[in-house]
Structures are given as structure tokens and as C-alpha cells.
């Protein structure tokens, strides 16, 4: 067994070292800097000034709390809508119909698409002179670009939400398709033979069966959209601004003092995501125990 132990340690160490040094090391160094320890500019004392400034100071507090609200709004709405749309699409597409293979491919098309490209696509389609506005103009529903609502670079984050729905619905779709496939239709047929109508079959048969996968996929999507930079950087406005963009801009600020605030913000983002994931695990654990 001694040989096995050495083998295990030797095999595990390289990837683990990469994660610990680069990932945890980066977080740790960010944490230290957020506490004001910046040898590069001659600061050695530890304090919570950066956190206090972000959360309560007159200069940053409003920016932070509106940003946090926007973050929660965007992540919740986009995750929820993407999941719901994908669920309906998956339920409809699993039946046989003309063009099923093509539709299946199109519905999965955004899965490998980089978020950056999806964001650019949203600009092309939903901006005031975009493809959709041109279509409406051809149909004489609107006359000038100004008649089309501001959906990209708007203060409610509609463009960001649209981009995440576009991208993540494909992710939900693939997961749901495979769950539905592995379940087959036996349960539904059984329910139908017992007299359940369409709604009842959906509510009491399909939904409970797909819920666990849907829920864990939602956590991944939520966590991602909460901390991602590219989409809000391209489709967002300066105020209110989503937190990852804000953190990055603090960090790039020529004023090196703002760097601590940027680091503090990135630590706060990580903490919020972590808390949500812990709540999720706690919820699923208690559910398993109940079963």
C-alpha cells in the first residue's frame, strides 16, 4: 500500500498545485491587498478601510449598492427565464416533427459560442438600428430608430439579460434534453392512463423529475452571470454598473489607492457567490435527508 500512497500523491500534486498556487494564491493575495497591505506603494498596515469605503462611504456606497441590486436582478431574471424557456423548448422538441434535427442543432448552437460573441450579436439584433428595428421598420410598425426601445446599453440591464438568456438557454436545453431522454415517457404514460391531464403531467410528473438537474444547472449559470465581466462591459452603462465591471475599473484606476477597493470588491463578489453555493448545498442536503 505504501507504493500506492506515493503514486497517489505524485499524481494528484501537479494539478492541485496549479489550482492552489494560482487560484487560491491569487485570492489570498487579493485579500491581503484589499486589507491595505500594498508594499509596492509603501503601505504595510492591515485595515478594513477599503471594505468600509465600498459599503458605507459617500463616494462609493451608492455605486456599490445599486451595482449589487443590478447584479442580483440580472442574474436572477436571466437564469430564471433561460431555464423556463429551455424547459418549454426541450419538452416540445423531444417529440417528432419535421426539421427536428435542425432545430435541435440550432437550439444547442449557442452552447460553445463565446459570451463575447453573443454580446456582440445582441448589439447587432437589439440596438436601435439593429436587425429587429429594421424588421419593424419594414413592417411600418416604427419609423425612426428612436421609436425602438433602448434594449442595449440600458440602465435596467435588459441587453445583459438578453445575452445571458441567449447563451445559457442552450446550456439548460442540452441538460434538459438528456434528462428527458434518459427518463423516457413511461412515467407520463402511466400518469396519463391514471387520468392525469397535460398540466398535471407537467406539474406532478415532469417537473419533479427534471428539477434536480435544472436546479444545479441554475446554480452554475447564476454564479457565472454574477461574476462575469465581458457581457456587462460591452452591454452595460456606467451607472448603474455591474460589480465585476466596477471591480475591474477600480483596479485599472491610475490612482493606486483605488486598487484596494477593486480587490475588496472582487473579494465581496467571490464571497456572495460562495454564500449562494453554500445555501444551495445546504438546501439540497436537507432535501436528500428528508427523502
Amino acid at each position: 500500500m505504501g507504493g500506492d500512497k506515493t503514486k497517489i500523491i505524485l499524481s494528484i500534486t501537479p494539478p492541485l498545485l496549479i489550482i492552489i498556487l494560482l487560484f487560491y494564491g491569487g485570492i489570498f493575495y487579493g485579500l491581503v491587498q484589499s486589507l491595505g497591505y500594498q508594499p509596492a506603494i509603501g503601505k504595510y498596515e492591515i485595515n478594513f478601510d477599503a471594505y468600509y469605503n465600498i459599503l458605507f462611504s459617500e463616494r462609493y456606497a451608492k455605486l456599490f449598492w445599486t451595482g449589487l441590486a443590478l447584479n442580483l436582478w440580472v442574474s436572477f431574471v436571466s437564469t430564471f427565464l433561460a431555464a423556463v424557456l429551455a424547459l418549454f423548448a426541450a419538452l416540445a422538441i423531444r417529440k417528432t416533427f419535421f426539421g427536428k434535427t435542425v432545430c435541435n442543432f440550432i437550439y444547442s448552437l449557442n452552447l460553445p459560442m463565446p459570451h463575447l460573441v453573443v454580446a456582440v450579436g445582441i448589439i447587432f439584433v437589439f440596438s436601435q438600428s439593429g436587425l429587429l428595428a429594421r424588421m419593424l421598420a419594414q413592417l411600418n410598425i416604427i419609423s425612426s430608430p428612436g421609436d425602438f426601445p433602448v434594449l442595449v446599453k440600458d440602465k435596467y440591464g435588459v441587453g445583459i439579460i438578453l445575452a445571458y438568456i441567449w447563451k445559457e438557454s442552450a446550456f439548460f436545453f442540452i441538460i434538459l434534453m438528456s434528462v428527458l431522454q434518459s427518463l423516457g415517457e413511461n412515467f407520463e404514460e402511466l400518469a396519463q392512463s391514471l387520468g392525469a391531464n397535460r398540466w398535471q403531467r407537467f406539474r406532478y410528473v415532469i417537473l419533479p423529475l427534471v428539477m434536480p438537474s435544472l436546479f444545479s444547472a441554475s446554480i452554475i449559470v447564476f454564479a457565472f452571470s454574477f461574476g462575469a465581466y465581458e457581457v456587462p462591459a460591452l452591454l452595460g452603462v456606467i451607472y448603474p454598473q455591474m460589480l465585476p465591471v466596477m471591480a475591474f475599473e477600480f483596479f485599472l484606476n491610475p490612482d493606486l489607492n483605488a486598487r484596494s477597493e477593486g480587490m475588496a470588491l472582487s473579494i465581496i463578489i467571490a464571497l456572495i457567490v460562495m454564500i449562494l453555493v453554500i445555501i444551495y448545498f445546504w438546501l439540497t442536503q436537507t432535501r436528500i435527508r428528508k427523502d
Binding site: 492541485l16 489550482i19 463565446p114 456582440v120 447587432f124 439593429g130 465581458e230 457567490v273
Partner: protein, 287 residues
């Protein structure tokens, strides 16, 4: 149960598919049109203007093989970014697989102390956002001299990639029977031959998925390359981002088309393998 859908359901599926491909249509119209003014739905004239300005296609009149080669020899920015993206993607993919294989084998086949903790540590980068570690790492990389280097960018790309490669391969090894290796060894095959003839064919499909996935994550990486590359390493996502922010739709569309090409290619190849249970799929949520 009625296998055929009602008409209205079919039409809404078609409508959904149409809405989903709208951005792709917009990419192609933008990239191959010139002066596509509002409210035209279809551009009046097709044009290669964007591709000529990106120095990917020579001016009219010199569109011969020689003309192409001469133009590309001037090393246009897009080609440079494309080569950088490809090189970083290949290097990171190969390195991550080599590093992950032994670990995945051990994690898939054995039970040992702290296994759960190790898996937890390993997968945490899949949930926590890159911005949480890269700001801190950036300053360390500057002082180590990795910042702005090819090496540094490859190294930082390993962080989001490693968890998925390890997880995917661990899944493969969990369903793998090592007894065949012992049989090959008792029949006289050496270690290398055993790996080549027994292990590799068994894990190849999973390895292909892991590799394609690793490549795609590296290929789409913006923030990490931007910060660690420090403006010296230009890749396609960086080019898409800066062109998109400067607001030239034709150029943005043309570069985006080059950028999404491998993604669509990979979807073609993997649609067979990709299913909801594979951990690689869950990784797609992070690209």
C-alpha cells in the same frame, strides 16, 4: 401518447429557432455589406470591404494566390491574433491533459483520505468568478516577470481549464477496468505498450471531449488574457472586444465570424458525446 405536435407548437419551435439564429444572420450581413443603412433590411450591395480593411482579403484585382500570400506575409493583426489564440489553445490543451491524466486515473480508480477535499479544491474555480483570483495574481505575475509573456498567459489559462479536464477524465476512469492492463503486462507488454494499446483506446473518446473543451475555454478567454497579457499578447477575443467597443459593426462582425468558426466546428464533432451527465457539458456554462 400522441407523438405528433400540434401545429401551433411546431410554429413556435420554428419561431424560436429563427430568433436564435438572428445574431448569426446579423453577423454575416454586417461582415459582407458596406454602408448598410437603416432602415434597409437587406443591404443594397455586397462588399468585401471589411475583409479588405482587416487585410485578410486583397483588394479587387489582386485576388490571386500570390496576392493572398503577399498580403498575409505583411502579418496583419487578425492573423497574428489568430495564431496567438491557436498556439495558446494548443499548448494549454496538451499541457492540461498531460497533467490531468495521472490525477484523474487516481481519483477515478482509488478511494483515499482527503479525496473529497481534493476534489472540492480542484473544482472551486468552476464556481468562483475569474475576477476573484486574477486581480491578486496579476500583481504577483508582474513581480515574477510572467506578466505580458506567452508563458504567463498559458499558465493563467490552466486555472479555468484544469477542473474540467480533471473532472471529465475522472469520470472516464471511474468506469474503467484496469485489469486489462494487468493482463497485457502479464502477457509481456511493457508499460508504454500497455498504455498505447490498452489504456489509450479505452479513454480516447473522453480525452477528445476534454481536449476540445479545454481548447474552447482557452479560445474564449478574455479577462485573463487581457490582464496577464498586459497588452502584449493579442488574441482573437481581445480583438473582438476592442473592435466592438470602438463601434465598427462590419469589422467586428468579420472578426467575430473567424472567432466563432472553431466553436461551431467543435459542436458538430461533439454533439454525439455531449450529454447532460458529462461534466464537460456543465463546463460549457462557463465559456
Amino acid at each position: 401518447m400522441n407523438q405528433n405536435l400540434k401545429k401551433i407548437n411546431i410554429y413556435s419551435i420554428y419561431l424560436g429557432a429563427f430568433i436564435l439564429v438572428l445574431p448569426i444572420i446579423a453577423f454575416f450581413i454586417n461582415a459582407f455589406s458596406f454602408r448598410w443603412f437603416y432602415p434597409q433590411l437587406i443591404p443594397k450591395e455586397l462588399s468585401m470591404q471589411a475583409w479588405v480593411r482587416l487585410k485578410l482579403i486583397p483588394r479587387e484585382g489582386s485576388r490571386t494566390l500570390e496576392g493572398f500570400l503577399d498580403l498575409w506575409a505583411t502579418n496583419p493583426t487578425v492573423i497574428k491574433a489568430l495564431i496567438n489564440s491557436l498556439t495558446i489553445g494548443f499548448v494549454v490543451t496538451i499541457v492540461s491533459i498531460i497533467i490531468a491524466l495521472p490525477a484523474a486515473r487516481v481519483l477515478g480508480l482509488f478511494n483515499f483520505k482527503f479525496k473529497k477535499l481534493i476534489i472540492f479544491l480542484m473544482v472551486s474555480p468552476t464556481i468562483l468568478p475569474p475576477i476573484a483570483f486574477v486581480l491578486g495574481l496579476n500583481i504577483n505575475f508582474i513581480s515574477l516577470g510572467f506578466s505580458g509573456s506567452f508563458f504567463g498567459v498559458c499558465l493563467v489559462h490552466l486555472v479555468p481549464i484544469m477542473p474540467y479536464v480533471v473532472l471529465t477524465l475522472t469520470g472516464i476512469f471511474a468506469n474503467y477496468n484496469p485489469d486489462f492492463e494487468y493482463q497485457a503486462r502479464t502477457l509481456g507488454a511493457n508499460k508504454f505498450k500497455t498504455f498505447y494499446l490498452i489504456t489509450l483506446p479505452a479513454i480516447a473518446p473522453g480525452m477528445v471531449v476534454a481536449a476540445l473543451f479545454a481548447f474552447l475555454v482557452s479560445w474564449s478567454q478574455y479577462l485573463l488574457t487581457f490582464l496577464i497579457g498586459a497588452g502584449k499578447i493579442m488574441t482573437l477575443p481581445l480583438l473582438v472586444f476592442s473592435t466592438a467597443s470602438s463601434g465598427n459593426p462590419a469589422l467586428t462582425a468579420a472578426i467575430s465570424i473567424i472567432f466563432i468558426f472553431p466553436a461551431i466546428l467543435i459542436l458538430f464533432f461533439t454533439s454525439k458525446f455531449v450529454s447532460g451527465e458529462s461534466s464537460a457539458t456543465s463546463g460549457f456554462g462557463k465559456i
